[in-house]
């Protein structure tokens, strides 16, 4: 690298963006709307542990939303509720104008540990999903759709391999193919790449990004990885630490939709965004849990756009 960027520059602050008012979604814009959900578990002594409560979060159609937070903040629970695998203790989730009830083929899940059926081949795993979606489809039609989905994730030629013969990255590709094959309205991903090595993770992020842009997929993804969220997300939801986690703020990604991984760190606003996210994970996720700023409204978490009111970081020549 021939240039150094000023790392010292901090993002604007957590204060709501002047443009935040315009970021509040109108109800017609909301494709998914999480409305006041809570999740409680019974605790010994007749008490209850509250993972989170009164959580509100809207999402637009075709939007890529990442949720970031430390372990135990209930990210996976939010995803499971969206998937219908768990029911909220309170509140509802509305998708496309309808409150969800249980699981649905409209909401595909990509699991953290791929969750392939080991006794089926790659084709068998994807075909299982396809034949669940289109119950009356002929065998040939099912196979054709499955093969198409497998080709989309770049696994053509491996259709007859079993999951045990595949590498971790290939298994997760099959998981993605299985989710895409049923043409869901929403894709839910629970740290899909966390078990992969950095190189494979990068390739799969590129694939997912390409596929989601091509198909205009609405995606909700949970991640630990700040860089992953910067690269993939349109908006990043920051959760405070659990228990009783809250949506601290929603960060709008200021980077252009057409992002190039190699050039990403030169893009204006990149460091402001990255520093903002890192600051949050390192300290603010804890301080904000203990005390939310005045005027915080759980129903309308502040929307921020780091670096938007700052000048571009000026590259300084490296000392030679």
């Amino acid at each position: 690298m021939s240039q150094l960027l000023p790392f010292a520059r901090r993002s604007a602050s957590a204060a709501p963006d002047p443009a935040a008012g315009t970021s509040r979604m109108s109800s017609s814009e909301k494709f998914i709307s999480i409305e006041g959900i809570a999740r409680r578990y019974p605790a010994p002594g007749g008490k209850q542990n509250t993972v989170f409560e009164n959580l509100w979060l809207p999402m637009r159609r075709g939007e890529f939303v990442c949720m970031i937070g430390h372990s135990g903040c209930g990210k996976t629970t939010v995803l499971n509720i969206l998937a219908g695998l768990e029911a909220p203790s309170e509140g509802v989730v509305i998708v496309d104008g309808q409150a969800i009830e249980g699981t649905s083929l409209d909401r595909a899940v990509i699991f953290q540990g791929h969750a392939l059926l080991p006794w089926r081949t790659v084709l068998g795993n994807v075909a299982y999903a396809v034949s669940s979606r289109w119950r009356k489809a002929s065998r040939a039609e099912v196979e054709e759709r499955a093969r198409k989905a497998i080709a989309t994730v770049g696994l053509a030629g491996s259709e007859h391999k079993r999951p045990s013969e595949l590498s971790g990255g290939m298994k997760q590709r099959v998981g993605i193919a299985r989710a895409l094959a049923i043409e869901p309205k929403i894709l839910l991903m629970d740290e899909p790449f966390s078990a992969l090595d950095a190189l494979t993770r990068g390739t799969l992020q590129d694939e997912v990004r390409r596929i989601c842009i091509e198909t205009g997929q609405t995606v909700f993804m949970i991640t630990h990885d700040v860089d992953e969220s910067i690269y993939l997300a349109d908006r990043i939801v920051l959760m405070t630490n659990g228990p009783e986690a809250k949506v601290a703020e929603i960060v709008e990604n200021p980077l252009p939709k057409s992002r190039d991984r190699a050039e990403l760190h030169h893009a204006p606003g990149y460091y402001a965004l990255r520093n903002h996210l890192m600051d949050f994970l390192v300290s603010r996720s804890k301080t904000l849990r203990d005390a939310m700023p005045a005027g915080y409204d759980q129903r309308h978490p502040p929307v921020v756009r780091p670096g938007s009111d700052e000048p571009e970081p000026i590259p300084i020549p490296a000392a030679s």
Binding site: G84, L85, T103, A108, F111, P118, W119, R133, I182
Partner: protein, 279 residues
């Protein structure tokens, strides 16, 4: 250079066999002193009294008798003299019937117990109480209620095959990975299809383990059961030959029982390999 492990193991096996046969031959050979006696009386008493020959047959006698049985396994000269093949066929038939019935009962109930924690808890005391009962203890009850000795033997096989299959099926079904079940749930797979496409394949290796244990127990129990009920079967044959004091035939039967048990076990082992999936 060393020969391959299977070859070396085979050589050792053969050596052990040869040593055993040699010792056997030496142990039963006529080495004791002969008493002087009236030739007529000697003819009456037989070789064991006159030449000191042991009543225990040697390996060559056994081999000759085994060959005789193998040459003509299916003869039938009345209720007390049937070929070894016929006796084995009776035993295998009883095991197949009793075991088959047990499969039909144990696997569905095992599924129920494995899928429903309520039923699992509710049925657990009964299983725990009945499982350790020796299958032969059921025999009098079976004879009294069924009033047919052959059917009673089948019932005893049924009851002894039931428990390992039941417990293993329940265990395998309950152990189906949550993530596979979640896959089925997110794909809106119905309960019947889920049972056949997710739970059954996931539990199949464990179920087959139970079936393999069961077939071993069934084959153990049939010999004892047939000794009790009599009439036909390899167990009855062993007991009948004991009453005939034909130790040779008893030894041949032991070998044949072992052989059939081994084949049954290997069949199930092969089936188990077919349903086992690498992870």
């Amino acid at each position: 250079m060393k020969a391959s492990l299977p070859l070396r193991a085979g050589i050792v096996s053969l050596a052990v066999l040869a040593a055993f046969l040699l010792l056997w031959q030496l142990a039963v050979g006529g080495i004791a002193k002969t008493e002087a006696m009236d030739p007529e009386y000697a003819a009456l008493m037989g070789a064991s009294a006159t030449t000191g020959k042991s009543a225990m047959p040697g390996p060559l006698d056994v081999a000759a008798t085994a060959w005789k049985h193998l040459k003509d396994p299916f003869y039938d000269r009345g209720p007390n003299d049937k070929g070894l093949g016929i006796q084995l066929a009776y035993s295998i038939g009883r095991v197949a019937l009793g075991y088959g019935l047990a499969v039909l009962v144990a696997i569905p109930i095992g599924f129920l117990i494995g899928m429903s924690p309520l039923m699992g808890r509710a049925l657990d005391p009964f299983i725990q109480l009945l499982k350790p009962v020796s299958p032969l203890a059921w025999m009098p009850l079976a004879l009294y209620t069924i009033k047919d000795s052959s059917l009673s033997a089948i019932f005893v096989i049924f009851i002894c095959s039931l428990w390992p299959m039941l417990i293993n099926t329940a265990f395998g079904v309950a152990g189906t990975r949550k993530e596979w079940l979640n896959v089925a749930r997110t794909l809106e797979v119905g309960p019947i299809r889920r049972a056949f496409t997710v739970i059954l394949p996931a539990a199949a290796p464990t179920i087959l383990t139970g079936m393999r244990i069961s077939v071993g127990i069934a084959w153990l129990v049939i010999v004892a059961a047939e000794m009790l009920v009599g009439g036909t079967g390899i167990g009855y044959f062993v007991w009948n030959e004991w009453n005939n004091l034909s130790i040779t035939n008893v030894i041949v039967s032991i070998l044949v029982i072992g052989l059939v048990g081994m084949i049954l076990d290997q069949l199930l082992a092969r089936a188990q390999r077919l349903v086992t999936f690498p992870e």
